[in-house]
Amino acid sequence: MGDDSPDREPSLDALRHRLSEAKAKQARGRGAQKGSLERSEGMAAGFRVAVELTAALVVGGGIGYVLDRWLGTQPWLLIVFFMVGAAAGFLTIYRTGQELDARARQRREAEAADEKADGDRKSSGG
């Protein structure tokens, strides 16, 4: 323990240096990872929108078909409900878009706050 104290200051400095180096390396790695993650998330969002549009069309068309069979009004209700399904699909997509936008904005703000906090720590910590 006793022979630790002379080189205590330099070792603390070295530690700080190593810490900042490790942090920079981690940030670089995170940047590269984030790129591919964002691509996959974009793919998932695109897939989600495609499925939502198709599902609304299928449900609308299905309702029209069943009602037609039931009421014997082929093919009119199928046509009407197919259009209703298309409208419902676009409505769903619009809402999904709004929701994804809100989430992206939230994340951007959180990241900006994070970076700001990091910068503050660096400038005050020295």
């Binding site: 996959s40 998330e41 998932a44 897939f47 989600r48 499925v51 939502e52 198709t54 599902a55 609304a56 299928v58 449900v59 609308g60 309702i63 409900f81 209703v84 399904g85 409208a87 419902a88 699909g89 409505l91 769903t92 929701e99």
Partner: protein, 241 residues
């Protein structure tokens, strides 16, 4: 002869059970559902047993899952969502483990069958609708008509909103099913190339490794999407638009 890429989705009875006209056989699909429940229960129970302040790797896995779902419920369901946390967490863990166990060679992916995912989605849909009517009573029908729109537009808007509402369980189940099925078919097809191309099979083999990593990511992501959409539907039922 290369195996058919859709052979992996075959359901066959392991223990035939016939009740009247109903075929209630215990199939390989049932077996993998039991395995999914057993594995997730064992992992969660085992990792939580220690309850150490500095978590072991296994413990931090379950703590991360818990925090992920807890944040998801807090951010997306809002007030009054806390009591639905056990349901959402169970749902997330079941789908996640079903997807991940499906990545094991010679395993069976439960979530690659539309009827399984549709049953999950239908339960969610019915539950959310009941919760909505329970909380808001007759007022819940306002879901299908935007506030402040002129009354005559109801002729168009109500069917559109109704179809949009009814399409939720379809899109929720098709998304999970399609992602899992497409991924597994693709893996099998590329794996077929590895054999037939001989020495040049090294190229698809490398691609296959990358594809496996992507599939693992999709397995986790789709479980997340499934749970988060349940949260959003629950939010609509509790607070309306």
């Amino acid at each position: 002869m290369a195996a058919s890429p859709i052979e992996q989705f075959e359901v066959y009875p392991l223990l035939p059970i016939q009740v009247g006209n109903l075929d209630l056989s215990f199939t390989n699909s049932s077996l993998w559902m039991v395995i999914t429940v057993a594995v997730s229960t064992v992992i969660l129970a085992f990792s939580a047993r220690g309850g150490a302040l500095v978590p072991s790797r296994l413990q931090s896995v379950s703590e991360m899952m818990y925090e992920l779902v807890a944040n998801m419920v807090r951010d997306n369901v809002g007030s009054g969502g806390r009591k639905y946390f056990p349901f959402i967490f169970t749902l997330f863990v079941f789908v996640l483990f079903a997807n991940l166990l499906g990545m094991l060679p010679h395993s069976f992916t439960v979530t690659s069958h539309l009827i399984v995912t549709f049953t999950l989605a239908a339960v969610i849909f019915v539950a959310v609708t009941i919760i909505g009517f329970y909380r808001h009573g007759f007022h819940y029908f306002r879901m299908f008509f935007p506030h402040g729109a002129p009354l005559w537009t109801a002729v168009i808007l109500v069917p559109v909103e109704l179809v949009s509402y009814l399409s939720r369980p379809v899109s929720l189940s098709v998304r999970l099913f399609a992602n899992m099925t497409v991924g597994h078919v693709l893996l099998k097809v590329i794996a077929g190339f590895v054999i037939t191309l001989g020495v040049f099979g090294i190229a698809p083999f490398i691609f296959l490794i990358a594809l496996n990593a992507l599939e693992l990511f999709i397995a986790a992501l789709q479980a997340y999407v499934f749970a988060i959409l349940t949260c959003i539907y629950l939010h609509d039922a509790l607070h309306m638009h």
